[in-house]
C-alpha cells in the first residue's frame, strides 16, 4: 500500500476479505505471517493498537451503540478531552461540534448529532459508521462494503470523500461487490479466493470479466438474466395505504409473473411500505387486496398465511437467527408445513435445508453449520432461501443482494427471474439502480413516503428514475390530506 492509493479487495462471498481486514485491524490474531507498517514489522493484538497505528476500519456488520447519540458513537473510545485541574474529562461541547464538522465534511447536514442511533434508518447508520472511521484521522482507512446499504446519491458523496482522502494521502483499502465502483475508484485491485491470494493488478490493466474470472474461477455472461414473462392478473394490490410517518397514501399493484422494482432514497419509506404490507407494522388505514380479495394483515403471520413473503433488508437483525443452524433458519418460516401433529418432521427439514444449499450454492460444509459462521453473502443466501421455502404468491425483497458477490448476485437474479416466470408476483426494493433497472418489468419510485412516479421497463432510464427520486417535494399535494382519519 502506498499513501494516496485506493486499493480494492475483491473476492466471492466467503473468500476471506473481511477476515483479512479483521486481522489487519487487530481483531483476530494471525496464525502466521507478518505485517509491515512504514517498513516496520507490526503486530496488533487488539483494535486499539491498530487505531493508534493509524488504521481505521469500517466493518461490514454495523457496530454502533443504539442507545447512545450520534456524536458519542462517532467518538467512542477517543472522545475529545479537556484538562480540568489534574484530570482529563470528556469535552462534550467539543465532541458535538467536531461531530457536526465531520458530518458536514461528508456533506451530511440533516442528521442531528444528538439523536440516538437506535432511531436512525440503516442508511443513516451507515453514514455514522463512516463518520466514526473518519474521526480517527487515519493514515490507512479500511472500508468493508461501505456502500452496501447506501443509495446512489450517498455513494456519489462517499466517493467524493474517498477521493478527498486520497488527495490527503490516506491509503484506502476498499472492499465491494460492485465492480463498477472498483473501476471508478480504485488504483489497484487484489483478488482473494477461498482465503488464498490470487493476484494483484493495476485497475487500468484489467477488465471486469477478467476480475470476475479471477474471483469466481469462471466468467459470468449476464448479471441481469431477465426472462421475458407473460404478465398475468394482479396478485397484490394496495390501495390508499397509510402508515405514518413513512407510508402515505400508497396505491399500486403487482401482477403475476411481474417484477416491480421500488426505487427511492435512503429513508424514503420503501422498507416501511414493505413492512406495512407484511404486517410487521400494520397499516393505519387502506386496503391490501390479494387475488381480488381484501385481506386483513395484522401481523406477519397473517401475511404469510395469505402467501406474502418478505426478505428483510438487514439480515443480521431481521432476516436470520444467527446463532442457529442453517437448517433451522431455512425452515423457520415454514415450520408449520413441516410438522406432523405439531412435531417437527426432521427428515423433511433436513431435505429442505440440503435443497436450499444446493439451489443457491451456499458455501457451508453442512446444513448443521451455524449461520453466524458464514460469510455475509452466504448469510444473505440463507435468508433468500428461507423465504423461497415458503412458496409464496407474492415475494417482497428488500435489498435482496446486499453484500452478495457477483456470482451469487447473478444466481439470485436468475432465481428471481425464474420465480417470476413461474407466476410469482415480485416486489423488489433495491438501492442499486442497475439492479432495479436490469431486473424490473416496472419501476416505482418512492419519495417521502409516497409513490411519486411509475415507469415501464422501456422508460425506466437512469436519468428518469434518479430525477424522480431526488425532485424536491414541491407539489401542492405534498401536504398530507386528512385521509388518515379514514377508518
Amino acid at each position: 500500500m502506498v499513501p494516496g492509493e485506493v486499493h480494492a479487495l475483491l473476492g466471492e462471498n466467503g473468500a476471506g476479505k473481511s477476515t483479512l481486514i479483521k486481522i489487519i485491524s487487530g481483531v483476530y490474531k494471525p496464525d502466521g505471517g507478518e505485517m509491515r507498517l512504514d517498513g516496520k514489522l507490526v503486530a496488533f493484538s487488539n483494535p486499539r493498537e491498530a487505531q493508534a497505528g493509524g488504521i481505521a476500519t469500517i466493518y461490514q456488520e454495523l457496530s454502533l451503540y443504539p442507545e447512545l447519540t450520534v456524536a458519542e458513537n462517532i467518538f467512542m473510545g477517543h472522545a475529545p478531552r479537556r484538562q480540568v485541574g489534574p484530570v482529563k474529562v470528556v469535552n462534550w461541547s467539543e465532541m458535538t461540534v467536531r461531530a457536526k464538522e465531520i458530518l458536514a465534511s461528508l456533506n451530511i447536514h440533516d442528521l442531528d448529532v444528538r439523536r440516538k442511533v437506535g432511531s436512525l434508518s440503516v442508511g443513516n447508520r451507515q453514514r455514522v459508521e463512516i463518520a466514526k472511521a473518519l474521526s480517527i484521522n487515519a493514515r490507512i482507512l479500511i472500508m468493508d462494503e461501505p456502500t452496501a446499504a447506501l443509495t446512489e446519491a450517498d455513494v456519489i458523496r462517499l466517493f467524493e470523500i474517498v477521493r478527498l482522502l486520497r488527495q490527503r494521502g490516506v491509503a484506502i483499502i476498499y472492499i465491494s461487490h460492485r465492480l463498477g465502483e472498483v473501476f471508478e475508484l480504485a488504483d489497484r485491485v487484489t483478488v482473494l479466493r477461498d482465503g488464498q491470494y490470487v493476484g494483484t493488478n493495476e485497475v487500468k490493466d484489467v477488465t471486469p470479466d477478467h476480475l470476475i474470472s479471477m474471483m469466481v474461477g469462471r466468467t459470468i455472461d449476464n448479471l441481469f438474466p431477465k426472462l421475458d414473462t407473460t404478465v398475468g392478473a394482479p396478485v397484490l394490490e394496495v390501495r390508499n395505504l397509510w402508515n405514518k410517518p413513512l407510508c402515505r397514501d400508497v396505491s399500486f399493484q403487482v401482477r403475476a409473473g411481474e417484477i416491480v422494482g421500488l426505487a427511492g432514497l435512503v429513508g424514503s419509506g420503501r422498507s416501511e411500505l414493505a413492512q406495512t404490507i407484511f404486517g410487521f407494522t400494520p397499516a393505519q388505514s387502506g386496503e391490501i387486496i390479494l387475488n381480488g380479495q381484501t385481506i386483513r394483515v395484522r401481523n406477519p403471520g397473517d401475511a404469510m398465511k395469505h402467501g406474502i413473503a418478505y426478505v428483510p433488508e438487514d439480515r443480521g437483525t431481521q432476516g436470520l437467527i444467527r446463532e442457529m443452524r442453517i437448517r433451522e433458519n431455512v425452515s423457520l418460516a415454514v415450520l408449520k408445513t413441516l410438522t406432523r401433529t405439531g412435531f417437527i418432521n426432521s427428515p423433511a427439514e433436513r431435505d429442505l435445508a440440503a435443497h436450499a444449499i444446493e439451489q443457491l450454492g451456499i458455501r457451508a460444509y453442512s446444513p448443521e453449520q451455524l449461520v453466524s459462521k458464514l460469510s455475509g453473502g452466504n448469510q444473505q443466501k440463507v435468508v433468500v432461501s428461507k423465504w423461497l421455502a415458503s412458496k409464496p404468491k407474492v415475494l417482497i425483497m428488500d435489498e435482496p443482494t446486499r453484500g452478495v458477490d457477483v456470482g451469487a448476485k447473478a444466481e439470485i437474479h436468475r432465481l428471481i427471474s425464474e420465480l417470476a416466470s413461474q407466476g410469482l408476483a415480485i416486489l423488489m426494493i433495491s438501492s442499486e439502480l442497475p439492479e432495479v433497472l436490469g431486473m424490473s418489468d416496472r419501476v416505482l419510485v418512492m419519495r417521502e413516503g409516497r409513490i411519486v412516479a411509475e415507469f415501464a421497463r422501456k422508460d425506466a432510464t437512469q436519468e428518469n428514475v434518479v430525477s424522480a427520486m431526488m425532485r424536491e417535494a414541491s407539489e401542492p399535494n405534498g401536504v398530507p390530506t386528512p385521509q388518515g382519519v379514514l377508518q
Binding site: 483494535p47 487505531q51 447512545l68 467512542m76 477517543h78 444528538r114 432511531s119
Partner: protein, 348 residues
C-alpha cells in the same frame, strides 16, 4: 434528551430538528425528573394528611436509615449499565458489615474497621469481575453462586453470634458532619450517611459522564462487539465496574454496620432485590447501556419514602407489599409510556 442525561446539562447547541421547546420538555421528562416529581407529590400528599411526615427529623431519618441502599445502588447501576448484574450484593453487604464489626471489637484502629471492608469489597468485586470477564461466566450465574457461598459461609464462620460491645467511636453512620459550616451556610449538621450518599452520587455521576472509562461502560453495555472494535477493552471495563460495585458495597456495609449498637452477623434478607429495584426504577435499563446513578439514588430514596409514608397514612401493613408492588409497577409503566411517546415524537 437521551437517557444518558445527567444533572449537568448539556451545552445548549441549537438542534436542527426539534425546537427548543420540545428539547426543554424532553429534559423535563427524564426519569430523574419524574422520580423527583413523584417524590415531591408524595411528600405533599402524605404531608398534608399527616404533617409529621414532612417534619425535618422524619426526612433526615428516612434518608439516614436508607442511605446504604442508595450507596449500594450506585455501584449496582454501573454493573447493570454494563449489561451485568450482581445478585450477591445483599450477602456481600452482610459479610462486609460483619467483617467491619469483627475488626472493631478486636482492638484494631477504628479506621481499619471502616477501610478494610471497602478493600475487601473491591477484592470480591475483582474476583467476580475476573470470573465474568476472563472466564466468561454470566454475571447472574457467578453472583447466584456467590450469594450462596457468602450467606452460608458467614453463618459457618460466625455461628450467627451477634457482635456487641462495639467501641463508641465506631458508629460512623451515627456521626454528623459539620461539612457545610465552613462554607458559611446555615445548614444543619448533616448525618454522615446522607453526606456520603450525596457526595458519592455526584462523584459517580460526574465520572460516568466525563471520564472515558465511564463512557466506555455505556459502550460495553450498549454493544459489546462494537466496543471491542472501537478498541475498548471489554474485560477491563467489566473488572472496573465490579470493583467499583464492590467498593460501594463496602461503603454501604460500613454504613449498615455502624447504624446500630449491634451487628447482626447475618445477611439482610431481600436486600439485593431492594438495591436492584432502586437501580431499575431509577431508569437503569436491565438491557444495558442506559441509566444514571442519580436516578438510582432518587429511586432508593423514593422507595424508602414510600415505605415510611405507608405507615404514616395508615395503610394496613397486611397490604403494604401489595401497595409497594403496584407503585413500582406504576413508576415503571410511566417510564415506558414516556419512552414510547419520545420515540413517537422522534419519528414524527
Amino acid at each position: 434528551m437521551t437517557a444518558t442525561a445527567s444533572p449537568v446539562t448539556r451545552p445548549p447547541v441549537q438542534a436542527r430538528s426539534g425546537g427548543f421547546l420540545s428539547r426543554a420538555l424532553s429534559f423535563l421528562f427524564t426519569q430523574e425528573v419524574i422520580l423527583f416529581l413523584v417524590l415531591v407529590v408524595l411528600i405533599v400528599l402524605v404531608g398534608s394528611a399527616n404533617p409529621r411526615y414532612v417534619a425535618e427529623r422524619n426526612f433526615i431519618n428516612i434518608l439516614n436509615g436508607n442511605a446504604y441502599i442508595a450507596v449500594a445502588a450506585i455501584g449496582m447501576s454501573m454493573v447493570i449499565i454494563s449489561r451485568n448484574i450482581d445478585i450477591s450484593i445483599g450477602s456481600l453487604i452482610g459479610v462486609l458489615g460483619t467483617l467491619s464489626g469483627t475488626i472493631a471489637i478486636n482492638g484494631y484502629p477504628i479506621w481499619a474497621s471502616w477501610l478494610v471492608p471497602i478493600v475487601a469489597g473491591a477484592l470480591v468485586g475483582a474476583v467476580i469481575g475476573f470470573l465474568v470477564a476472563y472466564l466468561r461466566i454470566p454475571a447472574i450465574v457467578v453472583t447466584l453462586g456467590l450469594l450462596s457461598i457468602l450467606k452460608g459461609g458467614l453463618i459457618t464462620i460466625t455461628g450467627g453470634a451477634w457482635i456487641t460491645d462495639l467501641p463508641s467511636d465506631y458508629f460512623l453512620a451515627q456521626m454528623k458532619s459539620p461539612a457545610f459550616s465552613f462554607l458559611g451556610l446555615n445548614v444543619p449538621e448533616i448525618p454522615s450517611p446522607i453526606l456520603l450518599m450525596i457526595i458519592l452520587t455526584i462523584l459517580a455521576a460526574i465520572w460516568m459522564r466525563y471520564s472515558t472509562t465511564g463512557r466506555a461502560i455505556y459502550a460495553v453495555g450498549g454493544n459489546a462487539e462494537a466496543a471491542r472494535l472501537s478498541g475498548i477493552s471489554e474485560k477491563r471495563i467489566i473488572m472496573t465496574v465490579f470493583i467499583i460495585n464492590g467498593i460501594t458495597a463496602g461503603i454501604a456495609a460500613v454504613l449498615w454496620a455502624t447504624q446500630l449498637s449491634i451487628i447482626q452477623s447475618t445477611v439482610p434478607a431481600g436486600l439485593e432485590l431492594q438495591i436492584i429495584t432502586s437501580a431499575v426504577v431509577g431508569g437503569v435499563s436491565i438491557l444495558g447501556g442506559i441509566g444514571t446513578t442519580v436516578g438510582a439514588m432518587l429511586a432508593a430514596i423514593l422507595l424508602s419514602a414510600i415505605n415510611s409514608a405507608l405507615v404514616f397514612i395508615n395503610i394496613s401493613p397486611y397490604w403494604f407489599r401489595a401497595v409497594v408492588g403496584v407503585l413500582i409497577l406504576v413508576t415503571v409503566l410511566a417510564d415506558r409510556l414516556r419512552r414510547q411517546r419520545n420515540r413517537a415524537s422522534e419519528r414524527g
